[in-house]
Amino acid sequence: MRRSNALTWIYLTALFGFVFAPIVTSMVFSFNSDRFPTVPLGHFTLHWYETAFARPEVWTAFRNSLIAAATAGALSTALGFATAYTDFRYGFRFKNAYLALALLPPTIPLVIMGLAMLAWLARLGLSGTLPGIVIAHTVMGAPFAMAICRLRLQQMDPSLEAAAWNLGASPWRAMRNVVVPFSAPAIISAYCLTAAVSFDEFIVAWFVSGLNKTVPVMILEILQGNVDPQINAIGTVVFLTSMTLVIAAQLLILRKSAK
């Protein structure tokens, strides 16, 4: 018993080490005074953060990414919730086809998705604009939002909504006062997760962003020029932002399923 316990611990430590070692390395070097990532380390410095955030294009990229993440997160969540509710509430012909279609986007290779988005958005005159990035990221985020909301709605007693009508709530008020509050943990966690997806997403953003670069696109462009520890600094900030969103989403999902 104790032996297998110890093995489990070794396994878990190795697993997390493997996953997180590169990220931790990058974080450590972001505070290292040396120009090149070599051991032994130099002394501690915030120099790379200072130079990175002294560049106006870094700020612009963060601003673009945050706006895109916030908006695409909201749109994906709204779409995903609406789709999940349709599935919960109505039965209709071709419902399986409808659900399969709604869940399709993550299965499309990102390069194809990026190319298609570029071609399509160019036609609409939206390529290279922030709304273009928002549209692309909404398409990518909505299926995740739908999956999360659907899981929550499956736990809802179907009589709950009818009980609200029965007590005098119109369908809209029942939605606002019963279905949405019941789904609130799922809606918030879907928002965090889809915002994180948008914030991190590189390939499609690279195709459609044009001059309005998001953070991941900018990182690659800096990297193509030279290896610069500023990347480690920016990467650390990106990692912490996404992790905060994902952990918040996970905590909400765990809390709701514990009930």
């Binding site: 007693d157 709950l160 609200a164 029965n166 005098g168 709530a169 119109s170 006062n177």
Partner: protein, 332 residues
Amino acid sequence: MTHPEPLVQFSGVRKTFGPFEAVKSLDLDIGLGEFVAIMGPSGCGKTTTLRMLAGLETPTEGTIRIAGQEMNDVPVHDRDTPLVWQSLALFPFLNVKENVEFGLKMRGVDASEAHSRAMLWLDRMGLKGFEKRRIDELSGGQRQRVALARSLVTEPQMLLLDEPLSALDAHLVIRMQGVLTKLQKELGITFVYVTHSQSEAFAMADRVVIMGQGEIAQIGTPQEIFRAPRNRFVAEFVGRNNILKGTVPGQEIVVAADRMKVHDSAPDDHAIAADFVSEEFAGTGIICYFEGPEGEELKAQVREDQLATLAPEPGQRFWLTWAPEAAHALTG
């Protein structure tokens, strides 16, 4: 039990779901202040009937009137027909008081009045001090009372109940039956109670409607249905009845188990010889089960002291008799 102006009138109501005919043809009047139980086996159309009354289903044919007004096109939320759900359907994200206030808020009652009315009902249902509790912190009986308070706080003319006691323990069922009957008498409003449980229906209702396969099989007081079942379906559904061959060929008669006498020696020619099978303790006595001459199941209710004297062994031969007035002829 005559009520001059029926509160609810079903006339020629039919409801189909695709090829399935849930309710075939329903004509039923329910009076103001009446406690009506609609009873029947599952799939008999009783829940559909209740849901049509609440507006959750629309009749395929026929009309439903409430207080004289035709209700077919009135949406659920514009009706005053609160329902106590089988699952109770309490809102888990609201506390006890917010649950009770919900209907008032939806009807535009202002916050302070909603609060005082909710508190009054919580007090009445013995839930004082529980107003801030979450629903999952309550016992089954407490939830039941929250559901009742939530439905009654808007002071409706009638309350619909869909098997509300089916999830409770037996001793709680008896207690809630008392709560419900008392409440109905005090409020003087109509209760329409759907159940598959004979004991619940007979214990509480003024009138019982027995439904089978989408149709009304019999309407009557519990006494009438128990003593004079109209047909074989009702007699069998009600249980504790013996269905026997009548003196006229082809005719069947019903004798209730508590009207059967058990003898350990043949008393006269009319007695039925039957072999003892088993016994079952019921609330009011002991039901003894016998096998008749043609393999049919026969039931007789005896007192505990009688059982002790008879001391039946499985397979032992007994003779069953009944007074002529205890027999009731079936018509269909």
